[in-house]
């Protein structure tokens, strides 16, 4: 009887830990995804600016990056966080990703209109990096 109870406790603990790491892992992988998208877009835009790439390739790369970042956005919105710490982690990650999506959308509109995108790559990347660190460090 006692071993049975211990097993249940262990299972519950494991589930709780899994739930906890679920938010962290979810946030981290969404941040990864958005970060990869932003860096792709930045590379595509820079190559275009240096005259090494064609307009359709740049436009497509930005489109694809925006799609990926939006997927990350909806991925993080779907995470249910039960604790205060988890909520903070998730919200901070969501803010950074929202920013990334906005930036990518602006960049895509600029490229579609034939302008050079005036994107603030450094700031957004730094924000994503900060959120990623916060995900890893939170108690």
């Amino acid at each position: 009887m006692r071993t049975w109870a211990a097993a249940v406790v262990a299972l519950l603990l494991a589930a709780a830990l899994a739930g906890c790491s679920g938010v962290r892992q979810g946030s981290a992988s969404s941040l990864d995804q958005a970060g990869s998208a932003v860096r792709t877009a930045r590379l595509a835009v820079e190559l275009d600016a240096r005259g090494r790439s064609t307009h359709p390739v740049t436009a497509t790369a930005l489109d694809d990056a925006l799609t990926k970042a939006s997927q990350a956005q909806s991925g993080i919105a779907a995470l249910g966080a039960s604790t205060r710490v988890n909520r903070r982690i998730r919200d901070e990650a969501a803010r950074a990703i929202d920013d990334a999506v906005r930036l990518l959308a602006d960049a895509r509109d600029a490229v579609d209109a034939g302008r050079a995108p005036a994107a603030d790559w450094d700031r957004v990347e730094a924000e994503l990096a900060r959120a990623t660190v916060a995900t890893g460090e939170a108690p």
Binding site: G35, T40, L43, L47, R52, T54, T60, K68
Partner: protein
């Protein structure tokens, strides 16, 4: 001179025919995440497909029987039907990925959304299968697919640190941030992308289409033994490009447009143009091969008349099957599913289904009633058995790895 030309043409076609959306995507994904640490899998896969294609080509030339006729005849109706269903579905999945790949490639050339290109691509594939002669179709797509050589050139233009690339390829480390599970999952995927069953259906049926006799065997062996390894080399170049440009920036490949970025960096607009031509040709060529293979598998299982060398009215159900296959592919793509994702799954399922087609061919290649004196030699059989084990292990490991790693996430 004419003979030399034929050999060159065959080799070039084999290089072009080896590459498809699965190779383009999988090798770039692997390159961006694992660098060249999975290069050994490409070598294993290329040797395997050489062996398998060569064996099924020899069976077709010696006996006049293509792969799925043999599968049905040896495994009987029950195991044969299970095999047919698996092979047909995976083939359909690959066809879907290739048609989607044509659309994605045309998007890169035009910036018109892929949704608009899908019907155009499917219609184009059907028209070529319906009207264009077999060798013309094979040679044109194969030659244009060679434009992908630009990836090999790009590796040089990127001035890599060769010794560190070599170390990566030879010591096969699991990169930091990746688990052993994802490493092996992508090993299976890369293996599946090199050894896709449709290549074998196509190759053996092609031998019948082109009415090969045993005299043509030496040439076919040469085409395969030179062409496929060179195609494998291009796969490695794709991975190296991703490893050199995307991996250091921590960019993970999830779309076809990203595959082009290293090319743009290395060679500029001209190189990009070449790469896009190569993408269109490789995906179009593979769409033709998988499209035909939907017809080949079903027709050969049921004993219907098949083949492009016949006019369509002489192979009615074969052509109807291909049309239905293309309509299904269009329907699947119309749901908005990402062709790149379809590709990532189709290469893994290819690895899972591989033993089903491999074993009957290995057995029949040893059957003197089919092969006469052209049965497998001792060395071929030893290598063949080694590969049977490798193929089985990959197939058995694929599903647990897929579940454990969340399909490589």
């Amino acid at each position: 001179m004419k003979g030399l030309f034929a050999v060159a043409l065959g080799v070039l076609t084999a290089i072009g025919g080896f590459l498809d959306i699965g190779d383009l995507v999988t090798s770039s994904v692997v390159g961006s995440r694992f660098g060249l640490s999975l290069a050994w899998v490409v070598v294993v896969g290329v040797v395997g497909i050489c062996l398998f294609a060569q064996m099924s080509g020899r069976v077709a030339a010696a006996s006049g029987r293509a792969t799925f006729e043999i599968i049905r005849e040896r495994l009987g109706p029950r195991a044969g039907a299970a095999n047919l269903i698996a092979s047909f579905l995976i083939n359909l999945m690959t066809l879907t990925a290739e048609v989607g790949g044509i659309a994605l490639s045309l998007q890169l050339a035009s910036s018109v959304a892929p949704g608009a290109w899908i019907p155009v691509a499917a219609f184009g594939v059907w028209l070529v299968i319906w009207r264009v002669k077999y060798d013309l179709m094979e040679n044109v797509t194969g030659m244009l697919g060679l434009a992908l050589v630009v990836f090999a050139v790009a590796v040089f233009l990127l001035h890599p640190d060769w010794s560190s690339l070599a170390t990566q390829a030879l010591t096969s480390p699991v990169p930091a941030g990746e688990s052993a599970g994802t490493y092996w999952y992508y090993a299976v995927a890369l293996f599946g992308s090199a050894m896709t069953p449709y290549e074998v259906f196509f190759f053996s049926s092609g031998a019948v289409e082109e009415k090969w006799t045993l005299k043509d065997l030496a040439q076919s062996r040469l085409n395969v033994l030179v062409g496929f390894p060179l195609g494998g080399l291009l796969t490695l170049a794709l991975a190296a490009c991703a490893a050199l440009v995307l991996m250091p920036q921590n960019v993970e490949v999830t779309s076809l447009s990203q595959v082009l970025l290293p090319i743009a960096q290395a060679g500029g607009k001209l190189a990009v143009a070449f790469a896009i031509v190569g993408f269109v040709a490789a995906t179009f060529g593979a769409a033709l091969e998988t499209g035909l293979s939907t017809g080949y598998t079903l027709a050969q299982f049921f004993g219907w008349s098949w083949g492009k060398f016949r006019r369509p009215t002489r192979a009615a159900r074969f052509h109807l099957t291909i049309m239905i296959g293309l309509v299904i592919a269009m329907g699947v793509l119309a749901t908005g599913v990402d062709p790149v994702q379809v590709t990532e799954y189709s290469v893994v399922f290819s690895a899972i289904a591989l033993p089903l087609t491999y074993l009957p061919i290995l057995i029949v290649a040893n059957d003197p009633e089919y092969m006469g004196e052209h049965v497998n030699g001792r060395i071929t059989n030893v290598v063949g058995m080694v590969y049977l084990v490798i193929i089985l292990v990959a197939a058995i490991a694929a599903i647990p790895l897929m579940i454990a790693t969340g399909a490589g996430a």
